[in-house]
């Protein structure tokens, strides 16, 4: 086993994990606040990637400099994904706030189907090449054999997003309201928190991080497709459950664990069963620790 290969896999797993983390955060936040598995979250990420592609190609054809294109594409992706997340909540989940959880979950599956096929019909079913927006930095050249500069950018962006998110949740008024709402909606409403608005904000924030993930992964892998959100969404969900759904540090931890295991598994054993492996981890974790690694175990009340 040579060491370079190991570090490559290590950083590969880290990059993969940070992408999962960006998506998993949205799952965890939404679950924490309304106990709903937002099945369509992966589709939001896909829409982010598509919007990024469309905006960046239009701007590139208009002759904008690369840096401007990156900035505008990322902005558009974030704005549109947030808008989709917001609308989705209003249409498919808000009328079901008091319905059984099964109904909301089925509605979420329907939304996921709808968004996938909407993009399929309006755009294309083919794989679209995605321009690599992140250039290779010259100063990073000596280390590029261990971790490429796009990977570096992904890691740094993820780190920044996490810090911002932690600040938002821990230290701002909105964050406080979010935590209150996730603990007890009725009590939060009694104390003057606009619960509907807080839930919308949660969806918007979750969708925005997913969009960032979408753009980063699309430009890293180099192609996108209407179906990309599904498997990524499932895996991010696995990561969120692994760490304990509802817990934000848990989602990050779970994502890194999943990223590493997948990376090492495919690197040393076999790449055929990569997805199988992710699901097996999920099943095993859920059997032995149903509340995840960092999750609080819930006591049921009569």
């Amino acid at each position: 086993m040579d060491f370079d290969y190991f570090t490559q896999l290590f950083f590969g797993g880290l990059t993969r994990g940070s992408i999962y983390a960006l998506i998993a955060l949205g799952y965890t936040m939404v679950y924490g606040i309304i106990q709903l598995i937002n099945f369509a979250h992966g589709e939001i990420y896909m829409i982010g990637a598509f919007t990024g592609l469309i905006v960046s190609s239009v701007l590139t054809m208009m002759g904008m400099p690369t840096l401007g294109v990156i900035f505008m594409a990322a902005m558009a992706a974030v704005i549109y994904s947030s808008a989709y997340g917001y609308t989705m909540e209003k249409i498919a989940y808000k009328p079901l706030r008091n319905a059984p959880r099964l109904s909301a979950l089925i509605s979420a599956i329907g939304m996921s189907l709808f968004l996938q096929n909407y993009v399929l019909l309006a755009q294309t079913s083919d794989f679209l090449p995605f321009p690599s927006l992140i250039p290779d930095f010259e100063f990073w050249e000596p280390y590029a054999h261990v971790i490429t500069s796009p990977e570096l950018v992904i890691l740094i962006t993820t780190f920044v997003v996490m810090v911002l998110l932690t600040v938002l949740i821990k230290f701002t008024k909105i964050g406080k309201a979010m935590r209150a709402t996730s603990q007890d909606q009725v009590m939060a409403a009694l104390l003057g928190i606009n619960v509907d608005r807080i839930i919308s904000i949660t969806f918007v924030v979750g969708s925005a991080t997913a969009a960032i993930g979408g753009i980063l992964i699309a430009s890293h892998i180099g192609q996108i497709n209407f179906y990309m959100g599904f498997i990524a969404g499932i895996k991010a969900f696995v990561a969120a459950v692994l760490g304990g759904i509802g817990s934000i540090p848990g989602a990050v931890l779970g994502s890194f664990i999943l990223g590493w295991t997948e990376s090492f598994f495919t690197g040393y054993i076999s790449s055929d069963y990569e997805d199988v492996f992710a699901f097996i981890i999920l099943v095993v974790i859920l059997i032995f620790r149903p509340s995840g690694l960092l999750g609080k175990s819930e006591t049921q009340k009569v």
């Binding site: 106990q35 709903l36 598995i37 829409i47 598509f50 919007t51 469309i54 905006v55 190609s57 239009v58 054809m61 558009a76 549109y80 808008a83 989709y84 609308t87 498919a92 009328p95 079901l96 059984p100 959880r101 099964l102 109904s103 909301a104 979950l105 089925i106 509605s107 599956i109 329907g110 939304m111 996921s112 189907l113 709808f114 968004l115 996938q116 096929n117 909407y118 993009v119 019909l121 309006a122 755009q123 294309t124 679209l128 090449p129 499932i234 696995v238 459950v241 055929d272 069963y273 997805d275 199988v276 699901f279 097996i280 999920l282 099943v283 859920l286 059997i287 149903p290 049921q300 009569v302």
Partner: protein, 397 residues
């Protein structure tokens, strides 16, 4: 005044959706030739559509809220009251029976084949109905058991030359065993976790079938699976199809009979009670794990039998027939028809499978319609087309 504000709201909704769908509906980038296609007509369509649909949406929401306040009683629908009376029910059943018997002779082979696939879905829907509708366990990997059934018949036939009639119970049994093996560890999980684990399990089965070439012949699948034979008689292809149709009709009737009996049995009542309140149920002395496991295994058995018939019908199977979306379609039939109601599930399955077949031009919109239907059903009519009427007892002094 009200009209004015409503129009204003609709305008806002329409503007919002025009903004929302702008990049995806209007711009189409061709990355190969570097050209952009601007499709402004789509935007107009979205705008006008959103204007009226948002109006309808709000109207229906208001109506639903009003309706919810007015009548809280579980009143059976008109159709159910009519069919509940013996004097209508028996002739209706007789006509239905005659129609089914002569169906393959009246219509072409093509129609019979479509009907066979629809009936397979009826069976699958009824099987999933045990798990989702009665026991309230959301199973998103139902297609895995379907695959187990289909592959066990195909492989047993390939290696040991087993016939359809041996394969049918064996396939069901094997799928049931799979249900037990999977169900044992995961049924302790809460509802939504269960959904994801079963989904994962469904994908695992598909991926294993795709990659384990020595066992399942990989993505190329298994061909030349024989159709059932009638006491060793040499039947032509058409006759074999008709024969399969009758077998399927018999099986569907058998399924209906079993589920009908199950519903009112001790297990069935335990399922329904578990769905409503697990803790109260355990307090009443119902073994939670065992009861859930029974539902899971029974549902799986039906999927397995459906799989055997599917393999016999298409005579060729490969992993591509067992994707997660197949599970979603089966779930759709249950949800659309009405969870827990047998006639509802049958209606849902026939509707969802037959309509897209006859509206071929509409084919590409099939999945998007499914998605929309799922959301709309959950929002406006969570009970499905034929809402399941639960027996209620009122306390009289």
């Amino acid at each position: 005044m009200i009209v004015n504000t409503e129009i204003k709201k609709s305008f806002l909704a329409s503007a919002w959706f025009m903004f929302l769908t702008f990049p995806i509906m209007v711009i189409k980038v061709n990355t190969v030739s570097d050209t952009i296609e601007w499709r402004w007509m789509n935007m107009v369509g979205v705008g006008v559509g959103a204007f009226f649909l948002s109006m309808l949406w709000r109207y229906l929401l208001v109506k639903k809220e009003m309706g919810g306040k007015k009548e809280k009683t579980d009143k059976p629908s008109l159709l159910q009251t009519v069919l509940g009376q013996r004097r209508f029910a028996i002739p209706a059943l007789v006509i239905l029976g005659i129609f089914t018997l002569v169906f393959p002779h009246l219509f072409s082979m093509y129609q019979t084949n479509i009907m066979i696939s629809a009936l397979i879905y009826v069976m699958l829907g009824l099987g999933l109905n045990i798990v989702v509708g009665l026991a309230g366990l959301l199973d998103l990997g139902y297609v895995a058991f379907f695959a187990v059934g289909a592959y066990s018949y195909a492989l047993l036939n390939l290696h040991f030359g087993m016939t359809f009639w041996v394969g049918l119970p064996l396939g069901g049994l094997l799928a049931g065993c799979f249900g037990l093996i999977l169900g044992y560890p995961v049924l302790r999980l809460r509802g939504d976790y269960l959904a994801i684990v079963t989904l994962g399990f469904g994908e695992i089965i598909r991926l294993v079938l795709e990659n384990w070439n020595e066992f399942s012949y990989g993505p190329s699948g298994i061909a030349n699976i024989p159709k059932p034979s009638l006491f060793g008689l040499d039947l032509s292809l058409d006759h074999k199809t008709i024969y399969l149709f009758y077998i399927l009709v018999a099986l569907v009737i058998f399924t209906i009979f079993v589920i009908n009996r199950l519903q009112d049995s001790r297990i069935g009542r335990a399922w329904i009670a578990l769905k409503d309140d697990e803790i109260a149920c355990q307090a009443m002395g119902i073994d939670k794990a065992k009861t859930k496991l029974r539902a899971f295994a029974l549902g799986a058995t039906w999927a397995g039998m459906g799989g055997v018939i599917f393999a016999a019908k298409t005579t060729f199977i490969n992993p591509a027939s067992f994707t997660i979306w197949e599970s979603v379609i089966i779930l759709c039939t249950v949800v659309l028809g009405g969870m827990g109601s047998i006639s509802g599930v049958i209606a849902g399955a026939l509707l969802l499978i037959l309509l897209p077949e006859y509206l071929r031009d509409f084919g590409e919109f099939r999945m998007i319609t499914f998605g929309t239907v799922l959301v709309l059903m959950m929002v406006f009519r969570p009970g499905g087309i034929v809402e399941n009427v639960r027996k209620t007892y009122t306390f009289k002094r």
